[in-house]
């Protein structure tokens, strides 16, 4: 009854919308198209603001290369971080840079105002008209700020020429400033056209907006954040094709094409490293996959414990290690296995002879030790999902089996295990898909000079190569290959799962 009513209601709303659409006049329709360009211009403007290569406020070569317009606007200190000597010797005045900071901030304000205008342009005619005012104000403010930045540039040129230090200050007027002018101009022109088109359309009484846009605008900041932190890094893949060292700028002459991809295949030293790293990665992940049944067994045997309080006690305390960080696990490893840790202290006190073996510093069985730590940390937690599934198994099955004379192990093997198989299968496929990603934290904290050859997994290798040694292009290449392979593996696992179980895992 209720659902039928809702469907009717939705249909009415839909018809209502269609009526509204068809009743719109031609100028309104054109205005909607023009506004799309205006919105695009605002989006471009926002993006420009965050890229250091498009910083119109970089009026001197002394201003950091990695500063975006946004950083220049919000932080004066970041602009003048290299200017200590220039200020002391009077090559430039601090006042110019305070002004620069303020004008950059004005551009940020103008962009925020334009964003407001663009959002309002999705509303009804009345909302649109107010949005136009915002867009016009924002565009005008941006142009004024750009002109003011130009005046600061002239000022810097003047003072540094007076001081005779033009070659030290290296004033420059970034070509990219004209892009900002262009964007602001597009917004202003579109606003003017829309205004002309809509001036005759009567405004409604209230500010209103189609719910689909209201919802979208509420979602927009979230989408923007996801874009900035998850999709924007893809832009960094370009470093794979350049001879790039940390802190430099990318220029076209540094383009080397596939050099670093080929190095991966041709350079003997790199190749040797990669083979070793891949062996470690596959060994550690492989051991993890080979033992992935352990949490299931843990849960099955735990269910055999009939003493409730004891079972809960076990479950509570075996889960704790999952919630401490790898650094803490390492702290525990030191406390127990170091030269003066628990094991040695205990042996010394019991046997009377001094024991001081450093179990952590040995290079033997590094893979198995890491597996053991991983197990210790994770098995209790991984078992919880199986514990939950076991409690969901129909008790009737066990009763029937008992009547048929099945023993303890028969019931485990023929009832519990098959019931847990679907969960096990999904988790197994996921771990196969993640075979290249063992994470770096565990291996980083447990690495020492003795065992580091056996510990370096792919993630840690990329970290050491890129952050530690600064070999950004090569480490980016490895990261790219890893991302591709991971995606292929995931799709493969998913396809396999669909074929076998008829259900996807992602």
């Amino acid at each position: 009854m209720a659902s039928g009513f809702v469907a009717d209601d939705k249909e009415i709303a839909k018809r209502h919308e269609q009526m509204k659409k068809s009743s719109r006049s031609l100028p309104q329709k054109i205005a909607d198209i023009v506004l799309i360009f205006s919105r695009l211009a605002v989006v471009v403007n926002v993006i420009l603001m965050f890229f250091p290569s498009f910083n119109p406020a970089r009026l001197s070569d002394l201003i950091g290369r990695n500063l975006s317009l946004f950083s220049c606007g919000v932080s004066y200190d970041s602009i003048v971080s290299n200017f200590g000597r220039a200020f002391r010797q009077g090559w430039v005045t601090e006042a110019s840079f305070h002004k620069l900071n303020i004008f950059a901030f004005l551009i940020i304000i103008s962009v925020i105002v334009m964003i407001g205008g663009a959002c309002m342009s999705l509303g009804n005619t009345k909302t649109k008209k107010y949005g136009l005012i915002a867009s016009a104000a924002g565009g005008a403010l941006e142009i004024v700020s750009l002109v003011l930045i130009r005046s600061v540039y002239d000022e810097i040129v003047f003072t540094s020429r007076e001081a005779g230090k033009l070659d030290k200050v290296l004033p420059q007027y970034p070509f990219i400033n004209y892009a900002y002018y262009a964007v602001a101009a597009v917004v202003l022109v579109c606003t003017a056209i829309t205004f002309a088109l809509l001036i005759r359309t009567p405004s409604e009484k209230n500010f209103e907006m189609d719910p689909k846009y209201t919802l979208f605008l509420m979602m927009l900041p979230i989408i923007a954040l996801a874009f900035v932190f998850s999709y924007l890094p893809l832009y960094g893949w370009r470093y794979a094709f350049f001879d790039y060292k940390a802190g430099e700028t990318l220029t076209a002459d540094k383009f080397v094409g596939l050099k670093y991809f080929l190095q991966l295949l041709q350079n003997d030293a790199t190749k040797k490293d990669i083979v070793r790293v891949l062996r470690n990665t596959f060994a550690m992940s492989g051991l993890g996959i080979l033992t992935s049944w352990v949490p299931m067994a843990f849960a099955i045997f735990l269910a055999e414990i009939k003493n409730g309080p004891f079972r809960r006690f076990v479950q509570t305390f075996t889960t704790i290690p999952n919630f401490i960080s790898w650094v803490l696990v390492y702290a525990i490893a030191i406390a127990i296995f170091n030269t003066d840790g628990f094991v040695n202290t205990f042996l010394t006190n019991v046997t009377g002879t001094v024991h001081s073996t450093n179990y952590l510093m040995s290079s033997s069985h590094a893979w198995l030790k890491m597996l053991a730590w991983g197990m210790w940390k994770g098995v209790g937690w991984s078992a919880i999902i199986y514990v939950a599934s076991i409690s969901g198994i129909d008790q009737g099955l066990y009763e029937a089996a008992t009547v048929d004379g099945a023993g303890r192990f028969a019931k485990m093997w023929y009832i519990t295990v098959p019931e847990l198989m679907p969960t096990f299968f999904v988790l197994l496929l996921m771990s196969v898909a993640n075979i290249l990603s063992n994470g770096m934290e565990q291996y980083l904290v447990f690495s020492n000079p003795m065992n580091k050859d056996a510990m370096q997994v792919l993630d840690l290798y990329v970290y050491n190569l890129g952050i530690g040694s600064g070999l950004i292009p090569l480490s980016t290449v490895i990261g790219m290959v890893k991302s591709f392979v991971s995606v292929v593996l995931l799709f493969g696992a998913n396809t396999f799962s669909k074929a076998v179980r008829g259900e996807s895992i992602v």
Partner: protein, 308 residues
């Protein structure tokens, strides 16, 4: 008998124990007992060392019981400024980061259930894909540095605000709330935001508590962002990072004596006690929230719910 049923074991109906059962039970209890002790004992061992007299600790006389009870170790550690600094940073990021993540996840989780949204599927898929695909560590690092999020506290907070997995958990939960509740509010003219604030937020509190508690543990334990992004700003090191530094310094006591703050107290405390005490400071908050976390475990495990 009724009691037996809730145990759900595969031999729930057995009444008399055969010798085989007895042997099985002994082995089973023994195994779980020993494993559980291995999970508790390290914490206990570190703890008794921190409350023992440093003299006993250094000469290796602490094995199973504390000796010469004292809180002096904690008081001495309190004088280490950079430790306090790390505690403050870590507490701040945990509170702020978790609060923002929960608010945004709940709003986003509600919004992606709204079919009217312009291109809803596209935005939702865009969020889901980020769980399975990333550009890699180095592009991520370069991106963060391009955005000015290196050597800054904001690097701990902003990237974690949008957490796709948590958004999906909230979405699944919101979908389970009867649609009629929302529809009736809609009929009364409530806006989407009002519905979110007055209906969705209060009703989804259980799942929000779950993601809050897991998010807080994640923030407390996070170490990589401090290590990679804020390497040049010791005043921003998180507690885990600080602990990592102290753990590595043990192998190099000379380096430790050289670093200002520590050398002063190094005479009173040896490296072992410093490590143990900081470890304890780092563990205690986790152990404190742990009892509250347990009832949220199963909700946190809604693996099957992750579907595009």
């Amino acid at each position: 008998m009724a009691k037996n049923k809730e145990y759900n074991g595969s031999s729930g109906m057995v009444e008399s124990l055969t010798p085989g059962d007895v042997v099985f039970n002994i082995i089973n209890y023994l195994f779980f007992g020993v494993f559980t002790i291995s999970c508790i004992f390290p914490f206990y061992y570190i703890f008794i060392n921190t409350i023992s007299d440093p003299g006993y600790v250094t000469s290796g006389q602490i094995t199973l019981l504390p000796r010469g009870l004292t809180v002096q170790n904690y008081i001495s550690m309190g004088k280490v400024n950079d430790l306090w600094n790390s505690v403050l940073i870590t507490v701040a990021r945990t509170i702020l980061g978790t609060a923002l993540m929960v608010v945004v996840s709940s709003l986003a989780g509600y919004l992606v259930t709204k079919k009217e949204m312009w291109h809803r599927q596209l935005w939702y898929r865009m969020l889901v894909i980020t769980m399975y695909f990333n550009a890699g560590l180095i592009p991520w690092y370069l991106n963060m540095s391009m955005l000015g999020l290196t050597d800054s506290f904001a690097a701990y907070i902003i990237p974690g605000i949008v957490a796709p997995y948590n958004i999906i958990l909230v979405k699944t939960y919101v979908e389970s709330i009867p649609a009629e509740i929302e529809e009736s509010a809609f009929m009364d003219g409530a806006s989407y935001f009002t519905i979110y604030r007055k209906i969705i937020w209060p009703l989804s509190k259980p799942i929000l508590a779950t993601i809050a508690i897991f998010g807080a543990v994640g923030q407390w334990n996070s170490f990589q962002d401090s290590l990679i992004l804020n390497a040049n700003s010791p005043e921003l090191y998180t507690l885990q990072h600080r602990l990592y530094i102290y753990l590595n310094q043990s192998s190099n006591i000379g380096a430790m004596a050289a670093s200002g703050d520590v050398s002063e107290i190094a005479s009173q405390l040896n490296t072992k006690i410093i490590q143990y005490t900081i470890s304890m400071v780092t563990i205690i908050p986790i152990l404190c929230v742990y009892p509250f976390m347990q009832r949220y475990f199963e909700k946190g495990l809604m693996l099957g719910a992750v579907k595009g």
